[in-house]
Symmetry: C2
Subunit: 343 residues, 2 copies
């Protein structure tokens, strides 16, 4: 096998009879290199199959050109879309990504933060785990002036820039839509209200009820984990409510799909007896019967925005500290599961 040593800027310098520094500068389009020299060097680099040694560069420049990504779960289509968006921008700008996930565990999240800090990433893009209580494990980043961007699960009042949707409005729109369809006893299946995404959606839900003079009832609120088993539990809880529920707003499509199934198995019709609206606009909502109304949560776009933002900051184009929160647009997607009136 061809174990020839890699060629370096010194090799190029030797071949052309110039100094390594000239080669280095030419390679990165530094201004103080004559265009003739630059051209020669670029050509030679190409001919010799030169590949830059990132470590040498990182070591010297004290930067890594790497972003740390922290997510709470990899196996989620929303998260995957976000990653896809981040990767899209990172690839363009030649940044690497190190992706970690916390499995919804605050301790593991802290360990990941520590690890990424040691790896000296230039910045962080993170969505908090389910049971994260504070941002202490990001302290080192803040203190060192390293940019941190949160998305999805965030502390709205905390440090760092956030890229989120207007969860309040999303919850409000979903609920208003159900009310317009004639529903009055609207249940809400969601996860812990201590997480911003869920508490805000709940605020929107409550506000919509209030504005339509529908009294809020505590027993219409079901808080559980949104997992598959939890979905079955929640659905049964909903079915047991009396007087009967005529609509459910569920903050997760996968969960909603399972709930729909339980409801149908119980002999009720969707949307005639119970209208359903989910959240995320996952693929799964397109194959349920009827198809699932939902809120589109544009992960790809969120990932792009977050990545672009942090990279521009690192490139000195913008200052991230000037931006506290970026709101991405999200839309109500109406399909069969909530459409009682023909329009």
């Amino acid at each position: 096998m061809g174990l020839e040593k890699d060629i370096t800027i010194y090799d190029i310098a030797d071949k052309l009879g110039v100094s390594p520094s000239t080669v280095s500068r030419a390679l990165k389009n530094h201004t103080s290199i004559g265009s003739a020299t630059r051209k020669k060097i670029l050509a030679a680099a190409h001919d010799l199959g030169y590949r830059a040694n990132t470590f040498a560069s990182n070591l010297r420049r004290q930067r890594t050109n790497t972003l740390g990504i922290m997510v709470h779960e990899l196996r989620s289509s929303f998260i995957t879309s976000v990653l896809s968006g981040i990767e899209n921008i990172a690839a363009e700008t030649n940044y690497d990504l190190i992706i970690t996930h916390s499995s919804e565990n605050a301790a593991k999240e802290a360990a990941n933060a520590e690890n990424l800090f040691h790896k000296r990433v230039d910045g962080l893009i993170a969505s908090l785990s389910f049971d994260t209580k504070d941002l202490n494990h990001f302290r080192k980043f803040f203190d060192k002036g390293l940019p941190v961007i949160f998305f999805d699960r965030v502390f709205e009042q905390g440090e760092g820039t956030k890229v989120i949707i207007d969860n309040y409005r999303a919850g409000y729109n979903a609920t208003s839509h159900l009310i317009e369809q004639g529903c009055r006893r609207i249940a809400h299946i969601t996860s812990s209200l201590s997480r911003n995404v869920y508490s805000e959606r709940f605020r929107g839900y409550s506000a919509a009820l209030r504005e339509n003079n529908i009294p809020y009832e505590d027993n219409l609120l079901v808080v559980d984990s949104l997992s598959e088993e939890a979905a079955v539990r929640s659905a049964n809880a909903i079915l047991a409510i009396s007087p009967a529920v005529d609509a459910v707003f569920i903050t997760n499509d996968m969960c909603a799909a399972v709930v729909m199934q339980v409801i149908k198995e119980a002999g009720l019709r969707i949307p005639e007896d119970i209208a359903i609206i989910g959240f995320n606009n996952d693929m799964i909502g397109k194959v349920t019967n009827p198809k699932l109304s939902t809120i589109d949560y544009p992960g790809f776009q969120i990932g792009q925005v977050a990545a672009r933002q942090i990279i521009h900051h690192l490139q000195g184009i913008t200052d991230i500290n000037m931006t506290n929160t970026i709101i991405i647009n999200s839309e109500l997607v109406i399909r069969g599961s909530s459409l009682k009136k023909q329009t």
Copy 2:
């Protein structure tokens, strides 16, 4: 903000009055350091909040402790499971990952390979894109003796180690199951037969038919892209076949779910009129009505095995070149969509 410079082995050495080399060796448990000295150094490192500089180390050792991952698509639950499995092992062994995706594009795949090569990853784990025709873009890795492991989409005869399931057997089992259920006109919706996974499953399908004296018919084979739109097309193609089809083996659960929907909308019953079996065991199969029979494709496990294999090779524990192919177990999961007989 606290921009104190990082502390290095030199700082530790100064503080303790030993040489940097001693510190370096102590930190990596080199044998030739007295245990008293080692203990002192470890303690000092901890006190001072020392964090190793990977670049300096990489530069010197000419290794990166990073694996390159190449997938054809990020937004797939199978792929995500694999990534999860890889991450699981990599985290344990302190390897970083750089994840790239080709969007099913051979040219982008080649560019990614080139990029990872320049980034000097220690090894590669890859699933080929849809239209990859050869392994030329991996040549540099092979030539340099860098380990490459393929999974899922592979060239079974090509260079490199492969981690796959027995796709032939999976196709055979799925089809045999349908035959046992009394089906005789079994259609097969799949993707390009030039990809190993699909051609092997097709071989299994054909073999099962042959063994049961069911003649193979060309028009029962539908090759398309498995996307959502393709699924609708394929389903309609199936419905147009005469004499009517009584079962379909589809090599992708998402596609199968959509096909089921089209079939039901056409007024046919599943499984009574048409039995369905998918592939992958995605979440989506659990919320269709009826639930989808499928082949479990254990992504997490595949990821773990691939990662473990390549890392052990890098650590010198095993030699990857001794292993050509690793077959992971996959199982038939029977649910409602294919169960015509009560057992």
